[in-house]
């Protein structure tokens, strides 16, 4: 078993780490405070080819695979969860859906500019009545000649407010439900009938855009149907599976940052005549953090390898998301405790990281859904079917 990263992945990590430390870190607090998306950083990443890291070079991507994408998310997650979220929504679910289910023409027309970062992508699924219960969406697409007319509202959407290209799930046959009644579409957001609604004022990841998107008689050509009519649900589930792995990677980065800050502070801060590092209570917190991070790292990169070698990965990707989000939350919580009052101050990054970490247990499929996915795979092997 060879657990080493390939030289190109080591080189990629070095480059991204330097970029994240020099270009993203200086603005991380500012974009959180101002609640703005750091387009200047996203454009730089586009120029470096990072916004297409996992897509093949023939489609304008970098060809670094899922391992490369996990490295990108880990290094960004270590510095700024907001930036990682912007990038993750663009690559991991927005463009990824087109890559997984698009035909050749759709890939050339839409995936290439997205991989090159010339355009931004979003993934439109969630609605006010359809969160975990994704199949309960109500956005409707009705066939009209060689077009489809879409009406409906999507909520809690990342990137939708500035994306050029979006993949949208809509109901095409209300009688059929998830199997056969839902279709995925590629839409160009400058098409009339697409409106950006209310922006969410969030607890964390305030450097990312979360908004409501309204479709009002938006006409989408039939050739923009992703995959086959009625098979949209399956297409979306495939994307979400891929996205789960890289969310785990972002959590890994965040947890590592929490550990690094904690170690530095424990070294420096003295109370009762000794540094905190000499206190067992602190040592144990650090040891627990480090152990979980090590386990998460092995999990994330093994799953990346499984994806890159064509093995089934749905269950283990769900584990990455579940474990990654919880490890990150635990780590930043312990880091806050170790830093004490200083960690609570808005002038120190822990407070922001704490607010940013919480969403990971909720979006991209709540951890409850992840547990159901994991359990259902386990029981299926024994002939037991579970319904959510």
């Amino acid at each position: 078993m060879d657990f080493t990263f390939s030289p190109e992945h080591e080189a990629l990590r070095r480059m991204i780490r330097e970029f994240a430390e020099n270009e993203v870190a200086p603005i991380a607090a500012e974009i959180d405070r101002e609640g703005r998306v750091p387009f200047e950083v996203l454009h730089q990443m586009a120029e470096m080819g990072l916004l297409g890291v996992c897509f093949p070079q023939e489609y304008g991507g970098m060809g670094a695979g899922e391992a490369g994408y996990c490295i990108l998310m880990e290094e960004l997650g270590r510095i700024c969860t907001s930036t990682a979220t912007n990038v993750g929504a663009h690559i991991g679910i927005g463009a990824m859906t087109i890559y997984l289910d698009g035909n050749e023409e759709q890939k050339r027309k839409y995936l290439t500019p997205l991989a090159r970062g010339e355009k931004f992508a979003a993934f439109l699924l969630t609605e006010s009545d359809a969160g975990s219960d994704a199949a309960a969406i109500r956005t409707r697409a009705v066939r009209d000649g060689d077009h489809w007319v879409i009406n409906g509202t999507k909520t809690f959407n990342t990137n939708g407010s500035f994306a050029d290209i979006a993949t949208v799930m809509a109901v095409t046959d209300p009688t059929l439900g998830a199997r056969g009644g839902i279709t995925a579409f590629i839409v160009e957001t400058d098409t009339p009938g697409f409106e950006v609604g209310r922006h969410e004022d969030k607890m964390g990841i305030r450097g990312s855009s979360t908004a409501e998107l309204v479709f009002e008689d938006m006409r989408v050509p039939h050739e923009n149907v992703l995959g086959k009519v009625g098979e949209g649900f399956v297409a979306f589930m495939k994307s979400l599976d891929m996205g789960r792995l890289t969310l785990g990677a972002a959590g890994l980065g965040g947890a590592q940052a929490a550990l690094d800050w904690s170690v530095q502070w424990a070294r420096t801060r003295e109370q009762f005549g000794v540094p905190l590092a000499q206190k067992q209570s602190v040592q144990w917190m650090i040891a627990d953090m480090a152990t979980e991070i090590e386990a998460l790292r092995s999990l994330v990169y093994r799953v990346a390898w499984m994806v890159d070698t064509g093995q089934p990965f749905t269950q283990v990707a769900a584990m990455c998301k579940l474990y990654g989000s919880e490890v990150a939350s635990r780590a930043i919580d312990r880091a806050l405790q170790i830093h004490g009052g200083l960690g609570y101050s808005r002038d120190y990054p822990i407070e922001r990281a704490f607010r940013d970490a919480r969403i990971a247990e909720i979006f991209e499929g709540t951890n409850e859904i992840q547990r159901i996915v994991i359990a259902s795979r386990i029981f299926r092997e024994h002939g037991v079917r579970i319904s959510p």
Partner: protein, 343 residues
């Protein structure tokens, strides 16, 4: 005390002092700064004397420039046994080729054992070129040395990673051995005003300069060094009194101005100048804390500074726990005197 006896003794020394002949020896290539022999040159002559004594050799100086002949006196006073002077308008420091030509000819004839330069811009440009031309080994930025008697090779130490530790290297066989001496590393030798000599004037054939200085670089702005990467920082606290003194000290030292949170509260610095874990962490070579009490959050943000000077009126101020030199005084009582001494 009868001073005339002293004069007689000195006069005897003057007379008995002969101009040393050429061949071998420890040579120092002199620099001129502000119309005087540069301090680093004098330090190099002192270092050369130490080497020469162990080797049983003579110390020579080479002085190249325009209208510099009178400066040869300082070289004798510092300990040179012989001085060669090249005086010519083209031997101005920015024209490399003429100096190189004169030195190459001189050293080809004299065959020094060791040649010392100051580790300044001139030394950096000249020493390697000459070493390459003569097939000698070169060690730059030397801060200490010892002599390996058997091979007559200098074991020279120089700082690594800015002084975290020192590497020692030697040039056992190739001659001459070239060293550039780090300014301030060796003591300035005693200048014996009774030590005199008659410099030998060199024939100078100016060489064609290969590069031309066109003039000031219009509109060129060096990239701004952010506080987090500053190599010298002067930081003032709330208790400084007149913050202008802090700025003047920073100006004199070529340092960045900073402060603690108290200074920011008092409105004398901007928020990007706060040295604090909640602000900017600095790691300069030199940090001067003026009127800063020094709490954990400030101290943690400058703990990796190489050398810390702290001035504060309270003897129990925590800044003194992290400072190399501690001055228990009011800043406005000491700063003016420090500024004066730095002139």
């Amino acid at each position: 005390m009868d001073a005339s006896f002293l004069d007689l003794m000195m006069a005897q020394q003057e007379e008995s002092f002969e101009e040393a002949e050429g061949g071998g020896g420890v040579w120092v290539v002199a620099d001129v700064e502000g119309g005087q022999i540069a301090p680093v040159t004098l330090e190099a002559v002192g270092a050369a004397r130490t080497l020469a004594e162990s080797l049983g050799a003579y110390v020579y100086g080479v002085l190249l420039g325009h209208e510099v002949t009178s400066l040869a006196d300082s070289l004798y006073q510092a300990g040179a046994d012989g001085v060669r002077v090249g005086d010519h308008p083209d031997l101005d420091s920015s024209v490399l080729e003429s100096r190189l030509a004169v030195l190459a000819d001189l050293f080809a004839e004299e065959q020094p054992e060791i040649i010392l330069f100051g580790a300044n811009a001139t030394g950096a440009a000249l020493a390697p070129r000459l070493a390459q031309r003569m097939g000698g080994g070169l060690i730059e930025h030397v801060t200490a040395f010892s002599l390996e008697e058997s091979s007559r090779a200098v074991e020279a130490g120089f700082p690594v990673y800015g002084g975290d530790y020192f590497e020692i290297r030697a040039c056992p066989e190739a001659r001459p051995q070239f060293l550039t001496i780090e300014p301030g590393a060796f003591a300035k030798p005693f200048l014996d005003e009774y030590r005199k000599g008659d410099p030998t004037v060199l024939d100078v054939e100016p060489a064609e300069p290969a590069t031309r200085v066109l003039g000031p670089a219009e509109g060129f702005e060096a990239p701004r060094v952010p506080l987090s990467e500053a190599s010298v920082v002067v930081a003032g606290g709330r208790q400084v009194g007149d913050f202008a003194l802090v700025r003047r000290l920073a100006d004199r030292l070529g340092a960045h101005v900073a402060g603690d949170r108290g200074a920011w509260d008092a409105g004398v610095i901007d928020s990007d100048q706060i040295v604090d874990v909640r602000g900017t962490t600095v790691s300069p070579d030199v940090y001067v804390a003026v009127g800063i009490r020094g709490d954990t959050f400030h101290n943690a943000a400058m703990e990796s500074a190489g050398f810390v000077v702290a001035i504060h009126p309270d003897r129990d101020a925590s800044i003194f726990d992290v400072a190399d030199l501690c001055v228990e005084a009011r800043p406005d009582m000491v700063l003016p005197a420090i500024l004066e001494s730095l002139r």
